[in-house]
């Protein structure tokens, strides 16, 4: 992307005031998005994100600058600015880069932007027609078709020089059911770290129908009850509970400052004995996968919790310097506009051996959350929330009538210990996770789990 000579000059300049470490991140990204609703292709946009970020470390201070101008002059100016923001030791090193080829573990068959727009719009129309055809209560279908091709170059003062090419494909469908006075929504957003072959692998008719089914079911549901209940959370997006209740608090971004409920818990029991949780960037073509992280390190499979015992945090370079734990290839960022931070990739609770039907049968009165919406957490207090997208009452050991409109709240340190059963139907679902280094693609996942008691924020 850039001449190696220029990269070396920029890193040398960034080190020139005695910095401990310097890094250059360059990005050239092509985005394409089609927005469809009212049965029509409404908006169509393509664009080019382009820029570079220079980062230096002085001890535990990180300094970052970015620019859209990739001329040698502008990059040297940015490097000069970061170098002068602090003063390091007298030893100023000069660097020697070695370009390293990375192993591509996520094959792309049909690269983005090689398929005609008409084919994409045909796909969208099939989703739209399937949703509207499902039920005459479907009043609107919103579809967003997104492709992204991100080319990155990362070089640093340790001699690292790598490039990678990342293809992302995702379609987001939201169907609205209406009965004249009320409206409810059903949404699905499947995506992969892959090219157009991903769209060829999904059935647009099933996708459309599924969003319509949830919207109509919820339109005809009563409100959920209020109070404390046992809850069964099913697989797929249900994994958002681990993501919020625990995942963010295991990022060194929170741990290094002491602003996490899991500080000092390494090697200790923090969850139910049968709970094993993993954050894995190596799963082929999964939405949260990568070849290298945004600090140029190969991505890894990281076991976070094994049989209830805390085994690892998610560690980026600065997090490693501050906490002493080894890097886990978790340094991620939305774009050159952000300095990297420790972030999740594909994060999931591993399969257990409890039978799903026995889980339901074990509850007299409770909630079955078939699909979850999003959530959030305050890592410092551990208080989290997430919403139910498709819910049902459990009565006398059976799944009963649908219920809607409930958020579940709890405390991370507490909720993990209240998990009492884990099934064997692990599945993942796609999301965009927002934090200090921007919005990055992540998978959440789990098999169905039972939580003995959680606060359900219903209306009855």
């Amino acid at each position: 992307m850039l001449n190696e000579n220029i990269i070396e000059k920029v890193i040398d300049k960034a080190l020139s005031n005695g910095a401990d470490f310097a890094e250059l991140f360059v990005e050239n990204t092509f985005n394409s998005s089609i927005a469809f609703n009212d049965n029509k292709t409404k908006q169509n946009i393509v664009g080019n994100d382009y820029g570079a970020g220079v980062r230096v470390f002085y001890g535990h201070t990180a300094i970052y600058a970015f620019t859209n101008d990739l001329s040698e002059e502008a990059l040297l100016k940015a490097a000069d600015a970061v170098s002068k923001a602090a003063k390091g030791g007298d030893v100023v090193t000069s660097i020697d880069l070695t370009k390293r080829d990375i192993t591509n573990i996520h094959k792309v068959i049909i690269p983005n932007n090689t398929i005609a727009k008409k084919e994409k719009i045909d796909f969208i129309r099939k989703v739209n027609e399937a949703s509207r055809g499902y039920n005459n209560q479907i009043s609107q279908v919103d579809i967003r078709f997104m492709e992204k091709n991100q080319h990155v170059m990362i070089a640093n003062s340790e001699g690292l020089h790598v490039e990678d090419n990342r293809n992302y494909s995702r379609v987001y469908v939201s169907s609205i059911a209406s009965n004249g006075t009320e409206k409810q929504v059903g949404g699905e957003g499947p995506g992969r770290f892959a090219g157009y072959e991903f769209f060829n692998s999904i059935d647009p008719v099933e996708l459309g129908k599924e969003t319509a089914r949830v919207a109509v079911t919820m339109l005809n549901a009563d409100y959920a009850p209020s109070g404390k209940f046992p809850v069964v959370i099913d697989n797929g997006f249900g994994g958002v509970i681990f993501h919020e209740a625990c995942g963010h608090s295991l990022e060194t971004t929170a741990v290094a400052k002491g602003a996490s409920v899991f500080v000092g818990k390494m090697g200790k029991k923090i969850a139910f004995d049968k709970l094993t949780a993993i954050d894995d960037g190596t799963m082929p073509n999964e939405w949260g996968s990568e070849n290298i992280d945004d600090e140029g390190m190969e991505t890894k499979k990281t076991v976070l919790i094994e049989n209830g015992i805390l085994k690892s945090y998610m560690v980026d370079k600065m997090g490693s310097l501050k906490t002493g734990f080894a890097r886990t290839g978790s340094g991620r960022r939305q774009s050159y506009k952000f300095a990297p931070a420790s972030r999740m990739r594909n994060t999931y609770i591993a399969n257990g051996n409890d039978d799903f039907n026995e889980m339901i049968a074990s509850i007299d009165e409770g909630i079955y959350a078939a699909k979850m919406g999003g959530g959030s957490v305050s890592p410092g207090t551990g208080n989290f929330n997430f919403s139910i997208g498709e819910g049902y009452m459990i009565r006398n050991g059976k799944i009963a009538e649908p219920v809607r409109g409930a958020t579940l709240i709890g405390n991370g340190a507490d909720a993990l210990l209240k998990i009492s059963m884990i099934s064997d139907n692990m599945e993942m679902a796609q999301g965009m996770c927002g934090s200090v280094s921007g919005s990055v693609p992540t998978n959440v996942g789990q098999p169905a789990i039972k939580i003995d008691e959680i606060i359900v924020g219903g209306r009855k």
């Binding site: 609205i176 409206k183 400052k257 409109g405």
Partner: protein, 443 residues
């Protein structure tokens, strides 16, 4: 600024498009974060981007770039033309040389640009220092930061419209964690301003610490229906979360509860909601919107009656009304509608009076999960919350985290009293504390 870029694009697009609009944003920003009296991070940003919206054969296409060279500029025009071919929208889109808004409040301070970096760092350090000193129950100050920036935008179209705007801002926030027994709570305070001398780190630190420590030792709440007071900050959050119900595009596309309700009473008569792009104290203040259309103060709900939706020229034409100057678009996005300085007007009560209106009231001072637990299409919400139980006009004790649920439109009809403590939040949504007759509380 950037005249050469605009000329290049206009010249290339002249014979290829019926009309073209060019939107440019550029700016720089700075931020510093402090941890344990050391600089945790410095960030400097210098960014720019340019987006085109073109009309050809009545159809609209978009493209953008952050790479600035002649070849790329030509390419985005061609890409936008190609994109337009696949657009099926039948809304009539017209570009015009709209009149200019003569009187817009000043949104730029020369003085702010002159503040020395060392003063900014000291401010952030002081936030952390004072927060740690304020109360021994404070065990961590995860956020102590200062940021500022300057942004330039220019919009021009092939009908001769050409507007530019330069703004700057500075903001700071401090977030503290305190603990007592097993209870841990977070408290935050912020300030956004163009006058650096307004930052008072001691006061901000003390406010955030008090917000945190007041919440300690929470007791469980009995689930049920309660009268609820949202403090001014949380009322602004609620208002912002549901602002899209006023968006004419959402209305026309069947995504708003307010469809067909113009002229009807949809809220208690104490409720007046306005959007004012020209408010001198807001930070979403601008003389023109993202079509270059002049902005204004728009009354959305007047004494409970729905008066209008928020429009750009496309939705306005469809409804046979005038645009309210709320067109919104970044260079990377497509044309939509958004609020500017968006607010519920202040009432006449002192905040303390609100708590005298019922024997038992729940005060909400913090909300979580706005992006997942609130549904602007149905109006339903179920949110994580923190706050206090009030009895007979006295704040009795803090509550363990609980949920609050209801429906936003119902809530507007159930407004019982509005206080006079109006305040803007960091995103220019403004409100006073508001008493709601009844909402569901679960804990």
């Amino acid at each position: 600024m950037y005249s050469k870029e605009f000329e290049t694009i206009f010249a290339y697009a002249k014979d290829k498009t019926d009309d073209i609009e060019i939107l440019l944003s550029a700016g720089n920003s700075f931020s510093v974060k402090i941890n344990e009296q050391n600089v945790e991070s410095f960030n400097y940003a210098d960014s720019k981007g340019i987006g085109v919206r073109i009309i050809t054969g009545g159809k609209v296409g978009y493209a953008y770039t952050e790479k600035f060279d002649e070849e790329t500029f030509k390419r985005i025009v061609d890409e936008a033309i190609e994109n337009a071919k696949y657009t099926e929208d039948d809304d009539l889109v017209i570009m015009e040389n709209y009149p200019e808004n003569k009187d817009c409040p000043n949104v730029y301070s020369k003085e702010l640009d002159k503040v020395d970096v060392s003063d900014k760092i000291q401010l952030a350090k002081d936030l952390e220092k004072y927060a740690k000193q304020a109360d021994e129950r404070v065990f961590n100050v995860p956020y102590a930061m200062y940021a500022d920036g300057k942004s330039y935008s220019r919009i021009a179209n092939s009908k001769g419209l050409d507007r530019e705007d330069t703004q700057n801002y500075a903001y700071s926030y401090v977030g503290v964690l305190s603990a007592e027994k097993d209870d841990k709570r977070m408290g935050m305070d912020f300030l956004i301003t163009r006058d650096f001398s307004k930052f008072d780190p001691k006061k901000m630190a003390e406010v955030s610490v008090k917000k945190s420590t007041d919440l300690l030792n929470g007791l469980p709440v009995n689930s049920g229906k309660y009268p609820v007071v949202f403090n001014n900050e949380m009322m602004a959050t609620m208002l912002a979360t549901f602002s899209s119900i006023f968006n004419a595009k959402s209305v026309q596309e069947g995504r708003s509860l307010l469809k067909g309700k113009i002229g009807q009473k949809i809220a208690d008569e104490k409720v007046t909601i306005v959007d004012d792009s020209l408010h001198p104290e807001g930070f979403s203040t601008s003389a023109f919107d993202s079509e270059g259309y002049p902005t204004e103060k728009t009354v959305l709900i007047e004494k409970g009656i729905l008066k209008t939706y928020l429009h750009n020229t496309i939705t306005a034409r469809k409804d046979g009304v005038r645009s309210t100057g709320n067109a919104a678009r970044g260079y990377k996005g497509t044309l939509g509608i958004s609020t500017s300085n968006f607010m519920i007007e202040a009432g006449e009560h002192k905040e303390a009076d609100l708590f005298n209106k019922h024997d038992s009231i729940i005060e909400i001072v913090s909300l979580q999960g706005m992006h997942s637990g609130a549904n602007a299409i149905s109006g339903d919400f179920s949110l994580g919350a923190q706050g206090f139980l009030w009895e007979n006009g006295k704040r009795k004790h803090s509550l363990k985290p609980f949920t609050v649920s209801g429906n936003f439109l119902q809530m507007l009809s159930d407004v019982e009293a509005i206080a006079d403590n109006f305040n803007f939040d960091i995103s220019s949504n403004g409100a006073s504390s508001v008493l709601i007759k009844e909402l569901n509380i679960s804990g």
